[in-house]
Symmetry: C2
Subunit: 174 residues, 2 copies
């Protein structure tokens, strides 16, 4: 597919297809639909990025709070979004041993206690060891810096989800 | 319950409980959690309103695009959120006769064609006749004015959903 197919979508189709490129924040794709036509996928992604950057810090933290824990309750109860399910599986989050689950659970809790939002990382770009290391490291950050850092990860996740949809899934859905 | 119960909620509980006070926009309640403690429910509502107002017009239209049609596909297929289901039922949207369904369908399409977002109205504050009348009337508006008008309705819906949760549901959920 190419960007002209994307530009031809109604807002309903657009939100149905791209609504979760930022986890549980369909408002973001719904908002940037206004900016069509996009000259390229990269421009569409830039519009998403710009929209996120335009939000106050509380709004950016709101985005983070719409994300699930890594290897958390939603993974155990099967209530992750399909995107998160696939990403956490790829990073090995569904095959942790009991010690790893317990360590990650403690680190997630400490992180949430400190920052008031969950630890967000682009799981597809990291393996289990890298995720653990990063979590420990980022726990030492100051809140504003960490909020910015986590939003960078949201954008990486978005980049991969967008590519995944445009390169492989859209032709089947349309 | 009182506002101190609300202020004591973790962000996860808060988003689970209040995540849909603006339809499919959990980012909004997730964002205003940052502003705790709230002195009253009214202040919490004011924070939501302020957050919505701070969004660019594309973001406000994004909120509108997260709303379902009245008596539309989601009602027929049973995929409305529970909140919307109850509200549309109360306004009689699930007991329209075939002529009414077809008239509303045509008006909804004309409205979406003209504005690029769905017709949003606080169904709980209107009956069938009032909804039809309002839809015809608002179809004549200019886009920026109509976008603002529709956001006022989003805030009315939010007001009633908030009251509904705080006055009746929260004690059972906690």
């Amino acid at each position: 597919m190419d960007i002209s197919d994307v530009n031809a979508l109604s807002y309903e189709e657009f939100v149905e297809i791209f609504g979760n490129v930022v986890e549980k924040c369909p408002i973001i794709s719904a908002a940037i639909w206004t900016q069509r036509p996009f000259s390229s996928l990269a421009e569409m992604e830039a519009q998403i990025s710009e929209f996120i950057d335009s939000l106050p810090q509380s709004g950016q933290e709101g985005i983070l709070r719409c994300h699930p824990d890594l290897a958390g309750r939603d993974l155990r109860s099967g209530t992750l979004t399909r995107d998160s399910q696939e990403e956490q599986s790829e990073a090995g989050m569904n095959t942790l041993d009991p010690l790893e689950v317990s360590r990650l659970g403690r680190l997630n809790s400490a992180y949430k206690e400190r920052f008031g939002f969950p630890f967000v990382i682009c799981a597809r770009m990291n393996n289990k060891a890298a995720i653990m290391r990063e979590l420990v490291e980022r726990l030492g950050n100051e809140r504003t810096a960490e909020s910015k850092r986590a939003i960078e990860e949201v954008k990486k996740i978005c980049h991969l989800r967008l590519g995944n949809i445009v390169l492989s899934e859209l032709p089947n859905k349309l």
